[in-house]
Symmetry: C2
Subunit: 419 residues, 2 copies
């Protein structure tokens, strides 16, 4: 640890521990250098960082003072972060057993051997060979007819939506299925678009047909067709986020809007985060012909965000057929987990109403509840919940990141929280 | 190759080869399925893709027609891409010998072994341990006083500037040092900011002090101080892009604006693309205290774009002292290359004026020239040039991606182009 860091930690500890109270003036830089036997620069750097992190404030022409209110805020935040969550039903992180790490490592190692390719900046649009592979892949899987030239790769949906915003000149109105996709709405708003939640009036309709709400509802075929017809009539643009379309449990696989619309007026967007690993950040979108032309004309404006090594690894991984196997495996694995946990819940909470979402990734349990909801975190459980009428609580469990061996413990912790 | 792809390539070849002329009507889907002995879906898919790539157009209620004008455009583009560039003095790609691949592979392999870490989404702000490391690193190197909480990591400058745009509520005016940073200006414009090139009137001043123009000019200290004072007086925000600050050759290392301003009103932004590999896309920015607070409040809006594996690898690579060594090595290596090529140019073009840029990454050669500049590409040379007065041409060479063993050949190709 650098000297500056040592001093920073020492003073921070004194502030949090209460030895240095609100408003206490710190020693001057000169004096502190003498006291702690370090250089003035070290003291200056430590003071700067303490101020940056909110533990002290600088009064011009006077000196540095302890700012306890802000220190307390920072301390609480740090403590909250330490508050150990044992059963995380919220994050959607992956289960270790859902993914063959050794196989992926093999592909990454192969990609890392492509010295020549790694010496250059990547193609702004994404590596051509991966776009070619994706084009074939979504044609076969979702009947989305595309071509490498119409596919843009990026590190996550947000990067891609940023590009999309820059391609749409008219800053019209955008609708979202519900208020849960905060990031998307905020991005469009920042670019000057107007947000509404009535798709019938919107010039741009953002929709995730396999995940319409936080409960994972799937859009019925009838509504899909209505939506595509409406978009054709109004010449509105559909942005189809195909999130979780690989996870269908109660319902039959539904056609993509892109296929239903014959590729007209639909931008298709998808990713691999919940099929492979959340830390592999590769999303892609299929532009309409018009938007693809515009993108090509303005290509000098864009840089690629997704890592080249991971793009090359993913391409070969798909080419060798592993993605298809991984999809089957992931679906089977997570469906089994959801069912198992739902079964255990039903056994222990006999007065609760328990449902499995259409995509089999979520369990919705409604149960009588009159306590403070803080109890869950206190008992080490992180879970989404909504208050409902009649003093009931609706709990939404995503079991993906909780290993099966922890299910029994989680049920016990839930029992002591709910009863 | 899929059947659809075979058919696509077959028809494309006939269009480019001229067997199918402008306006020729293609066989109907039914007929083509019969002719080529494939399914109708295969034909439909091939036609769709040909239309998407601009080789044919669809006339509703009539059929598909060859669109030769667009096909020609596509063909030319494809041919241009094939036009072999032997000596690339333009791209800024890395030289194989500037980087120890085996060492980097070792760090990537170690990072890929962190199974637990790769199971979760990364921190939106970037991995904490890397932010901590960067905070120490830039303090030591550029006297930029920061803290992990004020650093945001992202895949490239563009992602970070997008976040910055969303944090600045007032869509005021932004100035750039010259017109070469098209991507930045376009991004700010898309977010509703006004662009000008007079920094004195701007509310936001974008500046890259070690790379003021395409020639790599360095901002003198006197102007740095003036700029910082102006920003303090006008309460304008400086965005300091520290691009190429590691490469100084003719001038003394200059202090960062962030340090000169005592961290007030300056957002510092930097990356590792030209120190390590262009394909490692990790940039970072240091926010002001005010912007960092705003970022923290809105953190749910952002996702991380930089890959987690590469972040973890880079962190350990810096921790083990390799970045510092790499900087020294890269600087020495590229300076030597630039000098060597400048020497060779001076020997062969005795009537030319030859200068080395301040950062020793570019050579500027002004030489009498009366031909068409197409000659360079024809002779396999890719180079930036500007016409000057008196029938002279100013050529700007970046030797980074041309191996030293190719220098003699490049000089010969240049001689036959210029003389």
């Amino acid at each position: 640890m650098s000297k500056y860091n040592e001093l920073y930690n020492k003073i921070k500890k004194e502030i949090i521990g209460g030895q240095l109270n609100e408003g206490t003036k710190l020693a001057s830089v000169r004096k502190a250098a003498f006291i702690y036997n370090v250089s003035r620069t070290t003291v200056q750097n430590a003071y700067f960082a303490l101020a940056a992190d909110g533990f002290i404030i600088s009064e011009p022409q006077s000196g540095y003072y302890v700012s306890y209110r802000r220190a307390k805020h920072t301390e609480e935040k740090q403590q909250n972060a330490c508050n150990k969550i044992l059963y995380d039903f919220k994050s959607g992180n992956a289960d270790k057993n859902s993914f063959e790490f050794d196989l992926w490592r093999k592909y990454m190692k192969n990609a890392l051997r492509c010295d020549e390719k790694l010496l250059s900046y990547g193609e702004p649009q994404g590596e051509y060979e991966l776009r070619e592979m994706l084009s074939d892949y979504i044609r076969e899987k979702r009947n989305v007819i595309s071509s490498p030239n119409r596919i843009v790769i990026g590190a996550g949906h947000q990067s891609l939506l940023g590009i999309l915003c820059s391609l749409i000149e008219k800053r019209g109105s955008v609708s979202f299925p519900d208020k849960s996709f905060i990031q998307g709405a905020a991005l469009f708003r920042d670019y000057g678009f107007k947000i509404n939640y009535r798709y019938k009036d919107a010039e741009i309709i953002y929709v995730s047909p396999s995940h319409m709400t936080v409960l994972g509802d799937v859009m019925p075929n009838k509504r899909r067709i209505e939506l595509v017809n409406l978009s054709a009539k109004n010449k509105s643009l559909i942005i189809e986020d195909d999130y979780e379309s690989d996870f269908l449990y109660n319902s039959m696989p539904a056609p993509s809007l892109h296929a239903l619309a014959g590729g007209e007026n639909v931008v298709y967007i998808s990713s691999f985060s919940n099929l492979l690993l959340p830390s592999i950040r590769i999303s892609f979108m299929v532009l309409t012909e018009e938007l693809a032309e515009k993108y090509e004309k303005n290509i000098y404006r864009y840089n690629q965000t997704a890592g080249k090594t991971e793009q090359l690894a993913l391409c070969q991984y798909i080419r060798d057929g592993h993605l298809k196997m991984q999809i089957r495996k992931t679906r089977r694995f997570y469906t089994a987990k959801t069912k198992q946990f739902a079964f255990m819940l039903a056994k222990e909470f006999q007065n609760a109403k328990i449902d499995i979402s259409e995509n089999a990734l979520k369990i919705i349990m409604t149960v009588p509840f009159a306590k403070s909801t803080d109890i869950f975190e206190k008992n080490g459980i992180s879970v989404l919940y909504e208050n409902t009428e009649n003093n009931c609580l609706k709990l939404i469990f995503n079991t993906s990141s909780v290993p099966q061996k922890d299910f029994a413990g989680a049920i016990q912790a839930l029992k002591s929280s709910v009863r």
